[in-house]
Symmetry: C2
Subunit: 355 residues, 2 copies
């Protein structure tokens, strides 16, 4: 697989982003959804802002108050015996270490625009900032599916109620229409297919399961892109492989003559995130035809290996230009990078590795 | 609240049920969905059958093989250091105690029929027995919503993929049509409303959340009763109250002049299960008008307090006859019981306790 990483990488880092909250620092500008609009490439960046604590003994948790529409700070003493602070991203109850009680940063979506796909300018204001009770801990990891002149932007809505997947639609990236939580918690990495298949819409999704079941990719169908059903298991984790710990949809599925090309992230149990590929039947996307045995993109460059959460490449979108795929991806949960690859080469790898 | 427990309680116990698997014992006949059909009351019982192990050192786990359509037994030594056997219902990986790896019994749905609502005769054959890869660990806790001449029977589909909620439809309780998993894992206690409201169908559901969020009741809408969206949080657990640990929909919502009457189960953190009630707006069921502060039914009778899992009353359906509600409920995860109560009294309790 030939990967042409952009010379300008990382394209956008936290240092390029001025925080919108006073007394906060930007710790991440990553996992951007991708769209083409008005001749420009738009990255719908997840910007994570963290309140700076004056007291090293105090950890602050930003919580959006949906009632008064304000961002409030909850503070926790490091010596509070109820909570665990080992993971810098979250505050965990000692009674429930496998989850989290608060996050130490708030994410929202901000657009970066580029004419050449390599040099980006960041909007001053957020595109999507928490606006209801399902987003009190933030808005994360947007994906963008264009159908006709409408852009379907779905994202993780994080709150004390759970992690749901919500949807807004827009035609101009200014006026938005909220369509509610299209997937109940706990779910994320929802990827809406760019067209109907046999009269139905489809979406990939990735439930996070409590009692039984792995972090696998599922697929669901929909009559209207608002309600989803007929949930089926699609791609599971694979012990001993690059995706032994979790998988999740990455980019919007790409239509090729051989089938729907799925670019998904896979992580080992040690949380090394790579990108892999799979091919689904053109007429029935619930059927998996092929799946790569080796990653198509792995954390190799310094900016991919080192950062807030090292060894992570995490694509949330790509732009197809003939056989070339311009894929934009989050790196080390910190910054954004871009690379080009040939669709024909991905299909070839799928072919070879399917044997 | 006046509760008129049936003299014949428990109406059906495991001793009344002949196992359909050789070498198995029936350990539960409980949590029955309820329907009126052909002048009879139908209880869609959850029958749990457990393989009898010849060797006290061996625990057996029944697993339905969706490929060869056979029930297979997996055996575990009690001294296997990878697994924990403390909860007799399940086999848990020591690496993940908050979930389960296998169940020690297989549940399926079998119908019991009654002309007078008090004396029941059990069908010989199952009504719903595992039939695909999402039900390899069993089919549990059916609910029945009648709309016109069609009965919508939804149930927990349990497998290594997760706990989803699946739907079959029938007009005669003989010929069934499978409608797929209508809710992705991890979810259960789905209650379909018996009519459209402002042009949309609705269902209660209860996600089980891994990272954040409680075992609360949510509500979703649907254009076709196959796909659901616009997921909203509805009723949360209440610290210090009878529903401090978990809540979940119990009976199909009942239309009253004052609103949709919801009979839900609530459990403390110590797993004492009671039934409570709430009232939702007639025109917008996402709005909670009132909610009881004290239970409407609590485990009091011996057969409610003692059994496989004591101190549990768990209703999955009721039949309305004017102001009288014939409610059928699982007791102690073991047997079925019935009681009558007045809808007007429930509404009165809601009124009094709403203040």
């Amino acid at each position: 697989m030939n990967i042409y990483r952009y010379e300008e990488n990382p394209l956008i880092t936290p240092l390029d982003v001025k925080p919108i909250h006073e007394g906060f620092e930007v710790i991440g500008a990553f996992n951007g959804g991708v769209a083409e609009y008005n001749g420009e490439v738009l990255l719908l960046l997840r910007v994570a802002e963290k309140p700076v604590s004056e007291d090293p003994e105090i950890v602050l948790a930003p919580v959006y108050n949906a009632k008064n529409k304000e961002l409030e700070l909850q503070s926790f003493r490091l010596d509070d015996e109820n909570y665990d602070f080992e993971d810098p991203r979250m505050i965990r109850s000692k009674a429930k270490l496998e989850g989290f009680s608060y996050l130490t940063s708030l994410s929202y979506i901000r657009i970066a625009r580029s004419k050449d796909g390599h040099h980006f300018t960041l909007d001053e204001k957020p595109f999507l900032y928490p606006f209801n009770e399902y987003q009190t801990f933030g808005i994360e990891d947007a994906r963008v599916t264009q159908i006709g002149d409408t852009y379907h932007v779905n994202f993780s809505a994080v709150s004390e109620f759970g992690v749901a997947d919500a949807l807004v639609t827009t035609k101009d990236f200014e006026n938005l229409e909220y369509q509610g939580n299209i997937f109940a918690p706990e779910n994320k990495d929802v990827l809406i297919f760019p067209e109907k298949i046999n009269g139905k819409y489809y979406a990939l999704h990735r439930p996070s399961l409590k009692s039984i079941g792995n972090l696998d990719i599922w697929i669901a169908s929909s009559p209207d892109l608002r309600s989803f059903g007929d949930h089926r298991h699609l791609l599971g984790i694979r012990p001993g492989e690059y995706d032994s710990g979790r998988v999740g949809g990455g980019c919007v599925p790409i239509k090729t003559e051989e089938g729907w090309l799925i670019l998904y992230h896979g992580a080992t149990e040690e949380n090394r995130y790579v990108m892999g590929a799979a091919l689904l039947d053109l007429n029935d996307p619930t059927i998996v035809l092929k799946r790569t045995k080796t990653p198509i993109l792995e954390p190799v460059a310094d900016y991919e290996k080192n950062g807030f959460f090292g060894d992570v490449v995490f694509a949330c979108g790509a732009i197809q230009e003939g056989d070339t795929l311009h894929m934009y991806y989050g790196v080390a949960d910190t910054s954004m990078a871009g690379c080009d690859m040939k669709i024909s080469e991905i299909l070839h790898q799928l072919e070879v590795e399917a044997k």
